[in-house]
């Protein structure tokens, strides 16, 4: 009896908690509201199943509890019932899976016009590389990564000269344009995640991974590392500023190109080694 | 004969093929009719071991296929100079033949074991063990040669460092299996010779009565080691 009540209370409580608790996802700031929709669909299908099943259990616990003279019914199988339940569940699963796969197709297919940016992780900070005026990232390699050249950019590549390297600085992005984020790491696994964008992906040393999104809302967001990367994992933060195109262009024009930063850091490091 | 342990009592003649399959799985007592406990256990252990070697080989495949570095050519690396001529892979080929020979002697040992021919069984088992030891010896020679040429688990003069890593790891694990097999073969051969299995003397590890089926169980292990070598030969040396 108490158990039946408690089961019901937990079920109803869970549903109420879902609708009325203050804890929910942050407002979205990218095109991935499809993901949010899929989550909502999932909630409905599974929520209904949860309430029905636990409700049924609670009813049985109450209705068929042991009393004097209570006798259980003998019924080993019921083929029809089992088939119906299997079919209904399969339909439920299909209802979850279908939208999921459709959206995943979008997720892995980068639109043609997306501009590429590169993110480099290291213990425990973020650096970024933007393609510069020509809109193309210069060639780079993991073997060429040094302190002066954190992205291992190929210095002879003409397309690399105007690249913009942002070390331990905020990333700026124009709103409304699809961005393909190329992810690299110098040392261990990291994960680039901005909760408002809903999309995340690991950074793997010796590899380049990617995801894409279109920022839709102008604001400054936190970048968090979402893959355990050592003691400082929880301190590995960055910021991304999404701004409208004009503001972005202004910002962009104030950045120094790779050919200049590279020269400068080289001079600086030479100086410091002399001392 | 005092005890017919191997002859399981409920194998119906009528059931073969598929209906036998269904029958065996749906009757009582034993799913593998006719199969003694030790043998069943060895088969399942070998299945698990298959997954170990499978994972080793698959890891080797993965690192080899995903590296940008040049993979050293095994045909050259494992070549020997004999009579002023370079013969590719020759040592490995000889090792292969040695191991196969040992498999043959083992198979015969099992046969004579079931015929209770103590002497023949023991001699064949010892022969198997000696061939196995020879294999391990050649393996040691191979390792020494490569180490002298500068191959290390962490690098080698010719290319991808994973070459050395996977080579030492996979052949090392295989060699360990062979070595364990050799030791067990000697122990079992002694037991056979002493007549332990004729008097059903209890085994130390199993605390069960010893019977000639142990020879077959040991044989299964030994053939498996040979089997693994077939795959190593194909994927490591011939690729």
């Amino acid at each position: 009896m108490i158990l039946a009540v408690v089961l019901l209370l937990l079920t109803v409580g869970s549903v109420l908690f879902h609708f009325y608790s203050p804890w929910w996802w942050t407002p979205i700031a990218s095109n991935w509201d499809y993901i949010d929709h899929t989550i909502i669909i999932t909630f409905w299908i599974t929520g209904v199943a949860f309430v029905l099943i636990i409700g049924f259990v609670a009813y049985c616990v109450y209705r068929f509890r042991h009393r004097e003279g209570q006798e259980a019914h003998y019924e080993p199988e019921n083929k029809r019932l089992e088939w119906w339940l299997t079919i209904a569940t399969s339909l439920g699963v299909a209802g979850l899976l279908a939208p999921g796969l459709v959206v995943w197709k979008d997720f892995v297919t980068v639109p043609a016009g997306a501009s590429e940016i590169e993110v480099m992780g290291q213990q425990w900070q973020w650096s970024f590389r933007l393609p510069g005026k020509d809109g193309v990232l210069g060639k780079s390699s993991d073997g060429a990564v040094t302190v002066e050249n954190p992205f291992g950019i190929n210095k002879d590549d003409p397309q690399a000269q105007d690249d913009i390297v942002l070390e331990a600085a905020d990333l700026h992005l124009p709103a409304g344009k699809p961005i393909k984020v190329l992810l690299r790491s110098k040392d261990v696994l990291h994960n680039f995640y901005v909760p408002e964008f809903r999309a995340k992906m690991d950074l793997i040393p010796g590899m380049v991974t990617y995801f894409w999104f279109t920022p839709t809302r102008t604001a400054k967001f936190d970048i968090l590392c979402f893959e355990l990367c050592g003691t400082g994992h929880y301190t590995m933060r960055g910021s991304v500023v999404v701004e409208d195109d004009a503001a972005y262009q202004t910002w962009l024009s104030q950045q120094t190109a790779f050919r200049d930063t590279y020269q400068r850091t080289k001079v600086v490091t030479k100086d410091s080694s002399v001392q | 004969m005092s005890h017919s342990a191997v002859a399981d009592t409920n194998v119906p003649h009528a059931h073969h093929g598929w209906s036998g399959l269904v029958h065996d799985w749906s009757t009582d007592q034993k799913a593998f009719k006719n199969v003694p406990w030790g043998k069943a256990m060895m088969w399942i252990f070998l299945l698990s071991d298959t997954f170990i070697f499978g994972c080793f080989l698959l890891s080797y495949m993965t690192v080899r296929m995903s590296t940008l570095d040049q993979w050293p050519n095994p045909s050259k690396v494992f070549a020997l100079h004999i009579g002023g001529q370079e013969i590719p892979l020759i040592l490995i080929a000889i090792m292969t033949f040695v191991l196969i020979s040992s498999s043959g002697t083992m198979a015969l040992a099992v046969k004579y074991g079931y015929q209770k021919d103590r002497v023949k069984t023991a001699i064949l088992m010892i022969l198997t063990a000696i061939l196995g030891a020879t294999f391990v010896g050649m393996q040691a020679f191979e390792w020494t040669k490569l180490i002298m040429e500068g191959v290390r688990p962490w690098g080698n003069p010719w290319g991808a460092p994973q070459f050395g890593s996977t080579f030492f790891m996979i052949t090392g694990f295989h060699g360990t299996h062979v070595t364990i097999g050799v030791i067990f073969l000697f122990i079992m051969a002694r037991k056979v010779l002493r007549g332990d299995f004729d008097v059903e003397r209890k085994g130390f590890f199993t605390s069960r009565k010893g019977r000639y089926e142990i020879v077959e169980t040991t044989g299964l292990y030994w053939h498996f080691v040979d089997l693994v070598w077939v795959f190593i030969f194909a994927f490591f040396y011939l690729w």
């Binding site: 099943i53 050592g230 003691t231 | 406990w37 994973q162």
Partner: protein
């Protein structure tokens, strides 16, 4: 229907004993170096519980840090990461796997299949001692310079063996060695369990008459024998990377500005190996729970388990499928993105056989005669927590939904609900259920009830709200979250609440321990078969079962394990070994329903 009829056996083959047993002579061989599966089971369970308590204490420390950040100066970030790693590893492997398979497997398999013991008792004994060694090696890692590893229980390289991670010097080495030892020890035991079920059943015991407990443990053991190899290989390779400087998992790395000597390896390979083991592993701890809970429900509801054959096939199907879903842990790992389609599909397909199991448990309650004993309370609580946790699994399995949720507290909530709470509830239920058999005494019912209510409601209150932290975007494995643009202040209140409840639930476990320990001496004497169960373990000549289990003759089985409340029979259960002619009839009645 083939085997679910209440009628007589089809045929009884002649007895076939492989061998007589060894006979222990001294106290040492009887209780310490014992080869009796029942003693080994208790040794396994005791060790697992002891190390489980360590993990429990670690979880308190973690919760203290998360609930009250900046309060406890002795919890440094390094310590925190060591805590979560060892907590996770102990709970999954050294507690649940060892307890379900080594503990319940050893105790129940020989008894339930009607064997005298495991097929190779000596190897079985070794299995336990090797397991103990693995536990000791794990514990030792805390006391070496640098402490235990803090790499997370997933031990992902390169991070696990580089300087930025605590315990990189010795901790990680001991962790890997301990796992390797565990796997070797487990294999010895596991082979025994499998062969005993396959080859050492008693007369009349067909596979389709096995109690579902045995089925669950049996299939889980097979999964373990096939999945642990992948972990073994991963551990060996990582050990080489760490000690010998090989580069299996290590690409070119610049660590804190310094170029390391590694190059060309594939970090993602380790993840594949780990999860090829890891996913079957979660079913290794789930399937025994599925099996045992079926028996608890059926016994205490006095009703046959509904759809026995479907239940068996579902266990087998889940076991098979669990090998082709592993990369759902890697949706955002940067693997080949097209794998997402394959693994999302296989993952969601697993929900179907699992759902069938849930339905059958629930339908067993329909028109039953439910005795709300302590074991039954735990069993029903399992249904709720498992359905809840399983459903959140569907979120994560559906690849795009996993993208925002992966590595958030949502995942932590998912696996605690489905693994930390649900199977653990079954363990508690099972301990209460078989307590009279093992000790010959009853536990204290009031304390049992208390333990149940605090654990069940408490655990739900801990882990249900935690999902919503995940929605907010709170990451897992964060020492502290500090200020961000998206985490509102009230998240800290929720964290505090969770921590307080976790402490309460933790202390309730002390009541449980007190209960099961003190009842050994002070509990009232149990009846022979207090639950009036049908399965063989309750039908032994001595209770608790003696050495060799069965006295002179091993039992002969005539029926499936679920003949409860058969119409027309005088009592509401018929033990599996009751011959058709001995069934007490209430009134003249056709035994077989038409």
């Amino acid at each position: 229907m083939v085997d679910v009829t209440p009628s007589a056996v089809d045929y009884v083959a002649p007895a076939h004993e492989e061998d007589e047993l060894y006979h222990p002579h001294s106290f040492l061989t009887k209780y310490v170096w014992s080869q009796d599966a029942k003693i080994i089971a208790i040794q396994y369970a005791g060790t697992a519980t002891a190390i489980g308590l360590v993990a429990l204490v670690l979880s308190w420390l973690m919760r203290l840090q998360l609930g009250f950040p900046d309060t406890f100066s002795f919890i440094s970030p390094e310590a925190y990461y060591q805590f979560i790693t060892v907590h996770g590893m102990i709970m999954v492997i050294y507690l649940l796997t060892a307890l379900f398979l080594g503990g319940f497997g050893n105790y129940l398999i020989p008894l339930m299949v009607g064997a005298r013991d495991m097929v190779f008792p000596y190897v079985n004994m070794l299995s336990y001692w090797v397991y103990l060694l693995a536990v000791l090696v794990l514990v030792a890692s805390f006391f070496l310079p640098g402490g235990a590893t803090g790499a997370g229980w997933t031990l992902y390289p390169p991070q696990a063996i580089l300087n930025g991670t605590p315990g990189r010097d010795y901790g990680i080495i001991l962790m890997l060695v301990s796992l390797i030892i565990f796997i070797i020890g487990f294999t010895m035991g596991g082979l025994n369990y499998v062969v005993t079920v396959l080859q050492a059943r008693c007369r009349g015991m067909t596979l389709m008459r096995l109690p579902l407990s045995v089925w669950g443990i049996f299939v889980a053991t097979i999964l373990a024998l096939l999945a642990f190899p992948a972990l073994f290989v991963g551990c060996v390779m990582m050990l080489f990377d760490r000690i010998l400087g090989t580069s299996f998992f290590m690409p070119r790395i610049v660590e804190f500005g310094e170029q390391l000597a590694y190059g060309g390896g594939s970090p993602i390979l380790f993840q594949h190996l780990f999860w090829f083991f890891g996913h079957p592993e979660v079913y290794i701890v789930a399937l025994p729970a599925f099996g045992i809970v079926s028996d608890l429900i059926s016994t205490h509801a006095r009703k046959n388990i509904f759809g026995y054959r479907m239940m068996v096939w579902a266990i087998v199907a889940i076991g098979g499928l669990s090998f082709v879903v592993w990369a759902h842990h890697m949706y955002v790992s940067g693997m080949n993105p097209y794998f997402g389609f394959f693994f999302a599909t296989t993952t969601l397909i697993i929900a179907v056989p699992t759902a069938i199991k849930v339905y059958n448990w629930v339908l067993t309650l329909w028109r039953a005669n439910i005795h709300l004993t302590v074991p039954m309370l735990f069993a029903i609580a399992f249904i709720l927590t498992f359905v809840n946790g399983g459903i959140t699994g569907l979120f994560l399995g559906n690849v795009v939904v996993d993208v925002p949720l992966s590595d958030t507290m949502f995942v932590v909530a998912h696996f605690h609900m489905v693994m930390g709470v649900a199977p653990l509830l079954v363990i508690f239920g099972a301990i209460y259920h078989w307590y009279p058999l093992i000790t010959g005494r009853m536990y204290n019912n009031a304390l049992g009830q208390f333990h149940f209510w605090v654990t069940f409601v408490g655990a739900y209150l801990i882990f249900f709200p935690m999902h919503y932290l995940g929605f907010v975007g709170v990451p897992r494995r964060y020492f502290e979250i500090n200020d961000t643009t998206f985490v509102p202040a009230n998240v800290h209140e929720l964290n505090m609440f969770i921590s307080v409840v976790a402490l309460i639930v933790g202390f309730a476990q002390m009541v449980f321990l007190y209960n099961i320990i003190s009842s050994i001496w002070y509990g009232k004497k149990a009846e022979r078969n207090p639950w009036r169960a049908t399965t063989l373990e309750w039908q032994t000549p001595e209770v608790p079962p003696g050495h060799g289990n069965w006295g002179k003759e091993t039992p002969v089985v005539y029926r499936w394990a679920y003949d409860y409340s058969v119409p027309g029979v005088a009592q509401d259960y018929i033990p599996q070994n009751t011959p058709p002619d001995d069934v007490p009839m209430a009134k003249p009645h056709r035994l077989q329903p038409a």
